[in-house]
Amino acid sequence: MISIKKITKKYGSDYYALKDVSLDIQSGEFVSLVGQSGTGKTTLVKLIIAEEKPTSGRIIIGGWDITKIESYEIPYLRRQIGVVFQDFKLLPKMTVYENVAFALQTCGAKKRKITDTVPQVLKIVGLDNKMDRYPHQLSGGEQQRVVIARSLVHRPKLLIADEPTGNLDSINTKEIIDLLLKINEIGTTVLLVTHNREVVNNLKKRVITIDNGEIVSDQERGRYLL
């Protein structure tokens, strides 16, 4: 699914955000990427969705070498990867339904496809009964679930969640992690970026630990090391 080969990412002339990182993720896996703040986790996510270009190395996603992707091809890549960022919020003037529909509209989907898909993904995240609410009428966990629903509209084979529980209390955090597990179970590869020790230790799934831009451990059924 994801094959990263000797990736280095420099910012400026001498700051290495990532150094010689290699990793492979198979279809259907649930992988946690952990590490302290500022160690290059988000940088890795940005490389995978082609928001940044690597300084050296190769990135192959689903057989598609995106190392030198053209800018007009990027939208096609993004439609196949669901992304949840901590800071990519909902649009406050749109309802839950409209926020999710927006992702399809802006990709030019037909009306029919929108009216079919939006209720489906909202059902997956358990918010099909709150479609007409505005974001401020939802809890933090519910808002994040809408964001996840939005990331699912293109039926991605890969879902990347970068610190999706960063602002949430432990009950909401558990809800979100359970939702990600459920999404993984219906066949989506999940890459979860987190520094929540409890979450990682409870998951008992593969854990990749990154420190100072380098992978320091990669374990099946791993634990939070740092």
């Binding site: 259907g28 689903g62 927006f102 802006t106």
Partner: protein
């Protein structure tokens, strides 16, 4: 039931195929967006439209000026006809010979012999309202005019050639040459051309200046629009909106500004023309031009120019702004 990742080529045939159709369906969305931005930054929109209008007005004035000078030059140019008097000694055979000779010169379009009677008629017609002249002519009792040659050249610039031709010594006893009339017309043209070149250069400079300012202002307006929509744009890009889809609303916003500016200029044109017309008549006298009429005659040119300039301004600036700030 693990789904494998699609590879690039199988992807989104659906979207590609329908892209064009969907763009037009969603033009409604883009218009709605542009309309909202217009009202959100009302004063900025007004400034933007004003500056585009100024650019269009300066271009229109330049065009009108062009039409006016072309008209004046046309009128002067058309006077490529000149009368040269024959002396009393000229005999019919000599006159015929001369007419033949001159007709053979390539730059000369036509040479016609005008009899003294014809000249008299023409003189009387010209001064029919001036009784004093008519009376003193009648008091003479005879026809005071000699025969003359009416010569037409192809272009007013060719008068010197004509002059050289008729100045040949063999014609000197049958022609009475007065150079003044030639040079008057030619000098008039030269001076009109040089003045109009200067004014046109100035008008051109002003137009370029306003066009550049407009590009900067529109660029700035679009940039602010992008800034106030940055969250929406971020989401759009993250979920895979095509680059044109992200860009289109801003391009259409720019187009909307220019359409409004064009309408304003077209509405303002007729009152402005009516205001200028009397001054133009005063200044140009017999060479004057009916502004409204000549713009109406050239309406397609005018529209094409206005639309062309307005589109140039908005498309260039919104294209640059979206490219710079949307990183598409």
């Amino acid at each position: 039931m693990v789904r494998s990742f699609l590879i690039k080529k199988e992807v989104d045939i659906y979207y590609n195929y329908f892209f064009v159709a969907m763009f037009f369906i969603d033009i409604y969305r883009a218009f709605k967006f542009a309309w909202q931005s217009f009202w959100r930054n009302f004063w900025l929109s007004i400034v933007t439209i004003t500056i585009i209008s100024l650019a269009l007005i300066s271009v229109s004035l330049l065009l009108s000026f062009n039409l006016i000078t072309a008209n004046v030059l046309d009128i002067v140019q058309a006077r490529t006809e000149i009368y040269i008097d024959l002396t009393d000694q000229a005999k019919t055979a000599q006159i015929d010979f001369l007419v033949n000779e001159l007709n053979r010169v390539p730059d000369i379009k036509e040479v016609v012999y005008v009899t003294p009677d014809q000249t008299l008629e023409r003189f009387k017609a010209t001064y029919q309202d001036n009784e004093l002249v008519i009376q003193s002519l009648e008091s003479l009792g005879t026809n005071p005019f000699t025969g003359s040659l009416r010569i037409k050249v192809q272009e007013i610039d060719q008068f010197p050639v004509l002059l050289e031709e008729i100045s040949k010594p063999e014609y000197s006893e049958i022609l009475e040459i007065d150079n003044a009339e030639f040079y008057q017309a030619r000098d008039l043209i030269t001076s009109i051309s040089s003045y109009s070149d200067k004014i046109e250069g100035f008008g051109f400079g002003i137009s370029i200046f306003f066009i550049l300012i407009s590009v900067i202002v529109v660029f700035n307006t679009i940039q602010m629009g992008i800034y106030s929509h940055r969250e929406e744009i971020g989401i759009m890009k993250l979920v895979g909106a095509s680059n044109w889809f992200v860009r289109a609303p801003f391009l259409i916003e720019g187009v909307l500004y220019s359409v409004v500016a064009i309408l304003i200029v077209l509405i303002l044109f007729y009152p402005i023309a009516a205001l200028i017309q009397p001054h133009l008549d005063n200044f140009l006298g017999e060479y004057t031009l009916d502004l409204v009429q000549s713009i109406n005659q050239n309406i397609w040119l005018v529209l094409a120019l206005e639309i062309g300039i307005a589109m140039f301004i908005t498309v260039v600036s919104s294209f640059l702004a979206t490219r710079r700030y949307l990183k598409v």
